[in-house]
């Protein structure tokens, strides 16, 4: 027999054998026991549940990303906010210090003058209503209804029984 003929026959034999094995394997699938089938089904259900669990993060990814970004922003901005507060405090302190230096540099007469001016300013603020008509500051300038009634009743000598 020719060499190529040998190869052809061998190839056909191999194919026939492969087909026979395939057929036997296909047939064996029908003979898988119900217990094994049940366990395969259970495995499949577990795998599908696993798949759904792993898909969940992709749904929450934008939300968690936004939360993370917000957190990072707070971490970055918070120290600078603290610095701003500290800066404001430093400015106020510097102003007070400048006032103190100014006061210390004044001579006695100027200091008295400043004190007088401050006293006059305070007086003007404290007694704005004490005007020329000499009315009591605690008494309102206009009458209140209840007050009028009680005054008039007292003046008329009305006695409430019970």
């Amino acid at each position: 027999m020719h060499k190529t003929e040998h190869a052809r026959v061998a190839g056909e034999d191999s194919e026939a054998l492969a087909n026979q094995v395939s057929a036997a394997l296909d047939k064996s699938l029908d003979q898988v026991s119900p217990e094994v089938q049940a366990r395969l089904k259970q495995a499949r259900i577990s795998a599908m549940a696993n798949s759904e669990r792993t898909l969940m993060p992709s749904v929450f990814l934008p939300v968690s990303g936004a939360a993370f970004a917000l957190g990072m922003l707070l971490i970055l901005v918070w120290p600078s906010m603290q610095e701003t507060d500290q800066g404001l405090q430093a400015i106020a302190f510097e102003e007070q210090l400048e006032d103190l230096i100014l006061v210390s540099e004044m001579d006695d007469e100027t200091l008295e003058l400043v004190e007088d001016i401050e006293f006059a300013y305070w007086l003007a603020q404290e007694m704005p209503a004490e005007t020329a008509d000499g009315l009591d500051n605690n008494v309102p300038a206009y009458p209140i209804e209840g007050r009028i009634e009680s005054h008039s009743q007292d003046q008329l000598g009305v006695v409430h029984n019970g």
Binding site: D13, S14, L17, A18, N19, Q20, V21, S22, A23, A24, L25, D26, K27, S28, L29, Q31, V32, S33, V36, Q37, R39, L40, A43, R44, S46, A47, M48, N50, S51, E52, R53, T54, L55
Partner: protein
């Protein structure tokens, strides 16, 4: 998600048989198939559907090879132990009681069982290569990718598997 479930339904029995041929153990075969399903569903479900089959068989083969490596390691560590006889609850014992079939069908059934027994006795790489090529219909390239070997090795394993099957098949006839 429905598509993935349908895909798993379509391959689960075949995968179980392949793992059972390689391990000779029903429980281990089930574990291997479950692992393969879990990994495919957990990590590759977002991949295009046409990639699922090669990916699934690649995971399955990887698990089968891992199982064999562990067995070999066990044999080396516990060398004084007698090798346990492989579980014999394979296709022969799982055959469901059938009604009286025609003689030809009986002969072909017996022939099929003998063939499967021969396949189960092949070295694991030759066996898996043969099953993937002949039964699952994967190309040489797909088989090489699934098994993590080169195409020439696939051809060699396949040729040797066929040679051994022929030899054992004719001797049992």
């Amino acid at each position: 998600m429905r598509n993935l479930e349908n895909f798993l339904i379509s391959v689960e029995k075949k995968a179980f048989r392949m793992a059972q041929l390689a391990t000779h153990c029903e429980a281990d075969a089930l574990d291997i198939v479950q692992d393969a399903m879990m990994k495919l569903a957990g990590k590759y479900s977002h991949k295009p559907e046409e990639e699922w089959r090669p990916l699934f068989y690649s995971i399955l083969e990887s698990r089968i090879m891992d199982w064999h490596r562990k067995q070999q390691l066990k044999k080396k560590i516990f060398f004084w132990r007698k090798e346990q006889a492989p579980e014999t609850e394979d296709t022969a014992t799982e055959t469901q009681p059938t009604q009286a079939s025609p003689e030809s069908e009986l002969i072909s059934e017996q022939l099929g069982e003998r063939l499967l027994a021969c396949v189960a006795e092949l070295p694991v790489q030759q066996q898996q290569c043969f099953v993937l090529r002949a039964w699952e219909g994967l190309s040489v390239n797909e088989t090489a990718q699934a098994m993590g070997i080169n195409e020439n090795s696939v051809k060699t394993h396949y040729a040797r598997a066929v040679q051994k099957l022929k030899a054992s098949h004719t001797s049992t006839q």
